[in-house]
């Protein structure tokens, strides 16, 4: 399964753990919005290219 995690701020411990658990056996991508330099075209393409999307 392809899973996208969009981080609006630095993840807390539980969010980190959830992403870590999802990473086992799945294809996980993380986008760190809070770090800037975002291509929104790529972000939208990623949103639709992944099966599940989480915004933290």
């Amino acid at each position: 399964m392809k899973i996208l995690h969009v981080l609006k701020k630095a993840p807390d411990a539980s969010t980190k753990k959830i992403i870590e658990i999802h990473s086992a056996g799945n294809q996980v991508k993380t986008i760190e919005l809070y770090k800037g330099g975002i291509s929104y075209d790529k972000l939208v393409a990623d949103v639709f290219a992944h099966d599940k999307v989480f915004c933290w």
């Binding site: 399964m1 899973i3 539980s14 753990k17 959830i18 658990i21 999802h22 799945n26 599940k52 999307v53 989480f54 915004c55 933290w56």
Partner: protein, 92 residues
Amino acid sequence: MSDTKKIAVIVRDRQGEALRVAGGLTLADDTIEVFILDRKLDKNDPEVATPLELVTDIELKVYSNNAENGSTTISLEEMAKKLLEYDFAIPY
């Protein structure tokens, strides 16, 4: 409208609002389930107690990794895996 969706509402810091939204999301006949992450619900706060009563009345399934919440207790690992069963997860 499309087929029924499964939606998880993840309750974190804004407990009352998250529960109110969870109740409201049932209006489109989707399956809504609630995950209380880490924190203990402040049931003495009317802004939490009132929407919690709604969630209870409409029999939404509630899971938490905090046993003090009195809902179905699951580990964080179980929660992470279970969240993948839903079309959408709404962290609040």
